[in-house]
């Protein structure tokens, strides 16, 4: 891999140990994955925040990096943490020791100059790349969104490689930074209506299991709220199948950029989605309803005003979303929703309080059984809540 003189110096430790380590990571990954050089990035997004997932090992590493003087040099946002970021006691799932360690992790990131947005949807408010930008994002659902819906360019980074890229301001040029890897590999014809986040999630899980790499979707049926709900499709694809990018005909910005006429065609219909719903239908009454995986947008929050919970219902949002919409959140809390701020029901230890969870998220239905030991139910939103208005149609959600 070609390095500039400045980059060589950084790798030799001339700018300190933190930058040296970060450069070593980028160069090693670049060499292994066949990058020709490093390229500048406009932003980074870092995962690996919850004390539940990274534990003492991660805390120790982040503390040491902060002590070494590591500083990010591009806009860098942060994934959700393992407890409510405003009041750790509010959700009743973590103890004082967990809270202390979680705060120490967030503090270490803050010391490194990372914006503690605590969200998996940084693209709504805090970190909005432009079409064509090279970025280094972790958080697999945000990676698909950035590549596909925004048209920015990122590989599926892990927590340390995204942090290394943020410290150096560069990432190795390979994978989805290159045109040739962004082309669709299979054509997916969907002969089913997609009317709810759960439908998009079920589709994502089904398609991911086919082993596709860069799917090109043709949505023949309804695609309600595609602009918002595309994130549920991408999140499920990424969780079930390590997918980093998708195209949706006449929707995503690069859909007609590459040749797609001669791709293998796969047809999906209603019964295929039903199969996923049937598989994810725990034979017991849910104790928790979980919405907001990925984190909700402001429009989605507003739509929830037309409903009310019938079971304990968590709605997960970023800390940045909370800070800009406190009144709306307060109203939702008055209706009876439990608003989980800067966290979610995957990265927080909900297993301390719940065993059976119903969700409208395909991604959550993939992770809840393993990460949180939940018996899981995938269901449409309007079946999880009570409508306040008989005229409220599904499409208003």
């Amino acid at each position: 891999m070609y390095l500039t003189k400045e980059e060589e110096k950084a790798l030799d430790g001339e700018f300190g140990e933190a930058i040296e380590k970060a450069m070593q990571i980028l160069v090693a990954l670049g060499e292994v994955y066949g990058a020709d050089r490093l390229i500048k990035i406009t932003s980074a997004h870092i995962s690996g925040v919850s004390y539940k997932t990274i534990g003492d090992a991660g805390l120790q590493f982040l503390r040491d990096m902060a002590r070494l003087g590591a500083r990010v040099c591009v806009k860098t946002t942060l994934n959700p943490c393992g407890m409510d970021a405003v009041d750790w006691r509010s959700l009743g799932i973590v103890d004082e020791e967990f809270a202390r360690n979680q705060k120490a992790i967030i503090e270490s990131y803050k010391q490194m100059g990372v914006e503690t947005t605590l969200t998996c949807t940084p693209y709504y408010l805090s970190n909005k790349p432009d079409f064509g930008d090279h970025i280094a994002w972790a958080e697999s659902s945000a990676v698909v969104y950035a590549n596909s819906v925004i048209g920015a360019r990122t590989n599926r980074e892990g927590a340390p490689s995204a942090l290394a890229a943020a410290i150096v301001g560069k990432t190795p040029r390979y994978g989805y930074h290159l045109e040739e890897n962004r082309k669709a590999t299979e054509k997916i014809i969907v002969n089913a209506d997609l009317e709810d986040p759960a439908d998009f999630g079920a589709l994502g899980i089904y398609v991911a299991r086919l082993g596709v790499k860069v799917p090109y979707f043709i949505l023949k049926g309804k695609a309600v709220n595609l602009r918002i709900y595309a994130k549920y499709l991408g999140a499920a694809l990424a969780a079930e199948g390590s997918i980093a990018m998708m195209h949706i005909e006449e929707f995503t910005p690069e859909w007609d950029k590459y040749e797609h006429e001669f791709l293998d065609k796969i047809v999906i219909d209603k019964k295929d989605l039903k199969e996923i719903y049937e598989e994810k239908s725990c034979d017991a009454e849910e104790e928790l309803v979980a919405l907001g995986c990925p984190h909700l947008s402001k429009e989605e929050l507003k739509a929830l005003l037309n409903y009310k919970p019938k079971k304990p219902t968590w709605i997960s949002i970023g800390l940045d979303m909370y800070e800009k919409n406190r009144d709306l959140v307060r109203t939702l809390e008055k209706i009876g929703y439990i608003v989980a701020k800067g966290t979610c029901f995957i990265v927080s230890p909900i297993e301390n309080a719940f065993h059976i969870t119903a969700t409208n998220s395909g991604k959550a239905s993939r992770y809840l059984p393993s990460f949180c030991k939940q018996c899981v139910i995938l269901r449409r939103t309007d079946e999880l809540l009570v409508s306040c208005d008989e005229n409220t149609s599904k499409s208003n959600l």
């Binding site: 070593q24 060499e31 590493f61 340390p160």
Partner: protein, 129 residues
């Protein structure tokens, strides 16, 4: 026997050779406090990897594995060096942040029967005896 390898995380290490023909997830398969392999499915179950040269096909599992390797270095339980068939991100990043010499492009089956290994992850070779 000397075998060429690709140097990934620079350094030199040597020690008794431990071979697993199964991939290893540092999160879950290894106890970072003791350095002992705790996954019963792994052929090295019950063995201590501290100070050894650990050879396995590739990393697998959670990316938190990189941090577990770092924790092992801090605890003094890290392996002396790692040999992979084809290194992936978790082991690459973990080895670098933990200063564990790492090479790959070595066929693990070729190492069978050897008891001791020297890993030179500057020049890109290993020597097994």
């Amino acid at each position: 026997m000397k075998i060429r390898a690709r140097a990934i995380s620079k350094g030199v290490g040597e020690g008794p050779l431990l071979i697993s023909d199964k991939p290893i997830s540092f999160l879950g398969d290894v106890d970072p406090r003791t350095g002992i392999i705790i996954n019963k499915e792994n052929p090295l179950y019950g063995k201590k990897i501290t100070g050894k040269v650990l050879a396995f096909p590739c990393g697998v599992g959670s990316t938190v594995g990189s941090y577990v390797m770092y924790q092992m270095r801090k605890n003094g339980t890290a392996p002396a060096a790692i040999i992979n068939e084809s290194a992936e991100t978790i082991i690459i990043v973990g080895a670098i942040i933990s200063n564990i010499p790492l090479v790959d492009s070595v066929r693990i089956t070729e190492l069978k029967g050897f008891k001791y290994a020297v890993v030179n992850a500057y020049e890109g070779w290993i020597e097994v005896t």
